[in-house]
Symmetry: D3
Subunit: 295 residues, 6 copies
């Protein structure tokens, strides 16, 4: 076959499945509108220099390495599992819910006597992450039969000797009455790129651009804009209440006795500050949602 021809568009892979909706929402706040028709694997994007393909996170890095994709979003875990030779451009960690780092843990039934990885020796362990798990046991000199598990790994824990499964908070393990023995890997979402694509100037700039906009959109998660009117003589008191690292935008008002103060806050902090700000003399306090925050 002739060598794979480089596309004249930047081909981006986004993950199909549980992360799909939050990924599309993230791109929308970053400024890219991606439309997915039902059952569609080839969404449209409102950027003529790009095309988008959906892959499962598990297989993404293979197709980036093979030049099928120029770049893609996937987890660090699956890059390792596939042993893919790709470039990691940015780590995308949300302050909240989706895309938080996950852990792959060795777990056994609560009632099992196993307490340490060595107790798996001679046994069977089921996992979706076969290669990482085999290397983990081999590095410890343990002889463990690692079987691929096609989903629903947690229910297999009582059929074999242990499982290696992914968890965010440990909640699903507890719900299945499993006990963690060890953590093999902590993994977060990454923007990865094909090494050849990164040597093409316009593609590298575009990928870096996307990285910056995604990080800006992630930075706006869990943040709000807050505006208030403050009497000029209360300004110092108000500013002291605000977090030191935030420099508020203070603008003059027509009424010379007052200034308008505007600041970006994490909503966890904002909910503590509002009562204090009011007491310090601020009025007309409003908060509004943000799309993107770039420092």
């Amino acid at each position: 076959m002739a060598p794979r021809k480089t596309s004249d568009k930047l081909v981006l892979g986004i993950p199909k499945g549980s992360l799909q909706d939050s990924t599309l929402d993230l791109f929308a706040r970053a400024g890219y509108n991606i439309s997915v028709s039902s059952r569609g694997y080839f969404p449209t994007i409102d950027d003529e220099q790009m095309s988008v393909v959906m892959f499962r996170a598990q297989e993404m890095s293979r197709y980036v390495e093979d030049s099928v994709l120029d770049a893609g979003l996937t987890g660090h875990d699956w890059i390792l599992e596939n042993g893919s030779d790709v470039e990691e451009i940015a780590e995308l960690v949300y302050a909240k819910r989706q895309m938080t780092p996950v852990r792959w843990v060795l777990a056994v039934p609560e009632e099992s006597k196993a307490r340490k990885p060595q107790d798996m020796d001679g046994g069977i362990v089921a996992t979706e992450l076969v290669n990482v798990t085999r290397k983990y046991f081999a590095d410890k000199g343990l002889k463990v039969k690692v079987e691929f598990s096609w989903g629903a790994t947690e229910v297999k824990a009582r059929l074999v000797d242990g499982i290696v499964d992914v968890t965010e908070t440990g909640g699903s393990l507890r719900a299945n009455k499993l006990r963690e023995i060890d953590t093999l890997l902590t993994s977060s979402t990454r923007l990865i790129a094909n090494r050849r694509a990164m040597k093409t100037d316009w593609k590298r700039r575009k990928i870096e651009n996307i990285a910056m906009l995604l990080i800006g959109a992630i930075g706006a998660q869990g943040k709000v804009g807050l505006k208030m009117n403050v009497p000029r003589d209360a300004l110092d008191a108000v500013v002291k209440i605000l977090p030191a690292e935030k420099s508020p935008t203070v603008s003059s008002l027509a009424d010379a006795g007052w200034v308008a103060v505007e600041v970006i806050l994490e909503d966890r902090i904002e909910r503590e500050l509002v009562p204090q700000l009011k007491r310090a003399g601020a009025t007309g306090i409003i908060t509004y949602p943000l799309n993107k925050v770039i420092h």
Copy 2:
């Protein structure tokens, strides 16, 4: 049994069921992110001093009174029905749709001859609000058999003599061809607290804090922020158009001939004002959504 131990967290009950989504959304705009897994009764909240439990609105006040919860959201109707001894912290009335006050009415089929409560004497009335209804008839000296109705009360109106059912606009009664005879009770959503919890300083402060933030978030419902650029000599005319009780924030622009005017408006008013503002000389009019408004 030993006396119930006070939790070191503030335990908050939020209503499961039809109000659930709007409640979660309200808390999000107030600054609290609550995550509910499917079928989950123990959501997580991003505040380490709090834990959240879901109960049906109907049973909430019992568990607040019993110290199972420190505070909770429920309707005034169910507090009365349960005869619960709890503290009402705040009334939470939305300007729109959800959490509007509801009425409990005595209703009969359109074709019934009954015209007043007395016409129920000697008959059977079905309701979810058994105790309030029994007291209502007893206070009038009427002998009515009040049967508990496990949902779908409106369809029972033609099987018994009348029903006492909840309605917002009366629409569902009309749709079932029922006629209202009397209103027993008007009820709105309340933030309630356990009396013992309110005697613990940090819990009382926290509950009051939540009340203020919820009221601020409710205040932003149906409001928008409006910004426009106004020629300095048209400022008076523009300000006169705005509602008298709103003091706009007027800020200087680099171009000395213009000022920026910003104001928070109810959207019902806003849609009337926009054409007038434009005619008065305002340009670059934009409106944007709000999370919270605290006067």
Copy 3:
């Protein structure tokens, strides 16, 4: 029968079906809250001078012409098909996705030998747009039997000789392996009004008002507000980066060395500018969502 009485409210028809959600959302951003109960054809609106009815886009113009409705939203295609004598108040074209103009095309199976409208002569064509299609062929002097197609027209292309079907991007035609031969009509969403209603002063003003607010809400689609702090001596450089036709709002800050700059941008442009603005010295760049933009 007595002549149809004019309602004392403005009766507005909105399209039931695929455009329903985006229409309700558009009205919400325009400032009108419309609530639809499930299976409801008579939504409520928070404007006491209006009532709302849902009709299919296909039949809307008939009922506007008949004075059943004072105004309504529908497509230009169905106004033509019904031959309705109504007034077109405004064209409502979204920058994105929904309510983009659509095309009605004559299409045949990819494997068909037909290449031009004349190749349909003596054959059968299925379509939902019967009258427009009959006129199209008659104008060309062709004898074609035009059969009404009750939905799923594309699957009939292989049963008859050709179809006239609606398409946005041509994607569904290609997915069904059909080939376009000709375009009969390009159609977009219109706000239409009954001619008699437009002669009543308050109704005409109200309809024009709705038109302006809908256009403003459409104008905010795909736009964001962008704010940033700029050193006074970098202002010129920053302004030069911004699109020429946009005049940014520049306001003084308390710190005399800095100004605040605010501008409304299309998000397609914004995502290109952010990196450049940052390089030019802007800090604290944030973007936020908009409800409405009125120039």
Copy 4:
């Protein structure tokens, strides 16, 4: 175009929509297995001489007349509406639920003063069955504007002067508080055929065959097989209990004192007879489901 080529298969149209599942089930009991993939308009059938296409009942007769289909199932109402020249092979009336005859009625709001068709004179009537309705009023010499209603006709009754809508039991009219004024048409499901196809021998035989099997399957609806053991001397008493027109199958048993009696009964009758049969001496009474009953 060349004249439409006759397919070498019998092309059968079955109705898409509310009757679809009961139709497929009917064919299955008749002996034909039709598989529909989701969104599929071209089901497969396990008979190599046939192919199946799905159409809406409303358009079926047009495509049968046009030779697109050789035969199809649709309602008598839509044959009339379309004025199609097709052959009606069989009436398919189920003893129960689906495919019962329906009525098209002129209906008005309960509160309307209209009492007879003449009260519509000069008014507007909405209906899906436009041609039949126009003819109905014209035959009475009435001038009524008949507007096509694209579904949900019952909700239009209060917007225009009356509707012509389909009903089975009148229940949906009552639920919408409408009153019937007149019945225009009673309609049942028909198997129809193209006149040209009926002149091809093998097609005509096949269509007649299908008609017989469908009628046999319909005949088994709501019937059960009943078997019992009866002492020889109680046989007369048992047979007298059975409906006169049913001749039971009486077979000898090894035990000469007993016979086995088997009979096909409507389940409405069966539930009355079982207690009587038991009292008359029958034992081991069982009933079993049937696929097809051919007299």
Copy 5:
């Protein structure tokens, strides 16, 4: 009010909710076809002497006692809870799955120290079955606050001291990590009747008739009819394999060397017998489904 008028139809209550589908299916096999429209509480039945109403099992017995219903299906547990004075006509216990008897148990978290009912003294117990539970503790001389639980009782076990909840197999308790302490009640489905209705001759006969047909339909659950051809000289061997209490129907065949043997078997037994029957010489063994078995 005038005394409640007896309906001229037999009014039957069937349970809305989890048992609904299996109840409708049971009636269908008994010979009664009940049609439920979506959201319908007034199904239709193909018996002109009956009308059907849906109630929750929890409230059924109240409305039977009040003469709103003549008869109904509900659980023994709810009859006790409501203290209803009604007549129990028949116990309806399925051999399989639905309508198996259920148990109401006192349960605590696995980690609780409570081991016996006495350990609840002075505590709070949540349950849907408030009255039965209160009586249970009172009979033991224990002071327990019994709170009504509006669904999802199992999740409250960790919020209060214990729960009284319903379980079939104990599986849901184990899944929630709860431990059973005691069984308060075992309950099965009952056909109940109003005492006054049972004094009306035709109603009593009809209710008894329904009871017999339902029991016949339940008897056919998990049973199949089995037919086979047996050489006359192998008949004894074959009959010996069959369960002693089943008398097979042996009928003569045209071929004098063979007989046809037919028998009704539970499918649990049938699957053991088939291999043995084949070995004993039976051929052409078939099994078929049954609707009803009346001994």
Copy 6:
């Protein structure tokens, strides 16, 4: 770890996913009732000697080989892919729809120039069946990079050079505009068993028993029982119409002039015969459904 203990029950694996419902239905007709709770991987079965676990077909054979399961249902394809050393007990091929044999084919886009496996040399092929595909190309001496495809393989055909995907009728390939180049494998469903389990007497007997009952249930698919009454002098003519290999059961009737004839027929044949039988003099023809047919 100690050697894996043999369960005292027969542990059977049934496939989770698309075949699940048809498998449960098959077991039900075979006489085994398996209940699956939602999200349940451990169904219950009404046989105390058995327990059931759900696995994906893809991983089934691994767990049978590892003695986690004694037996299981899976495809021949996945046994090969996993290279599992298990015993194949029975091939389970349905006459209709589900569980028909499938083919794994090498396919390319219609527009591709590739015509034979050799044209993949040096390219990339995506598939779920990695090992079988690698062996296939290696056996031909071709160098092809085979990448694992995590579902939706058909959409990858245009991203890489070709795919190896599963198909029943080729329909999904044509729908995706792919062209078959070669067939790698034809595969059907198998009942497989662990070699050690087959050496335990009671387990082997039980597994063979299950095989026989499943085959009997499959044999009844697409068959019906047909009964008719035939005049004794028409018997020969009727029997001649019936398929030669079927020996009908002819039984005497009380009326000596008639016999009852019963026969099991494939429904494809039955629908052809019924008209002929009627013409030959048969009356009272009925057909009824079957659970199981064992020759």
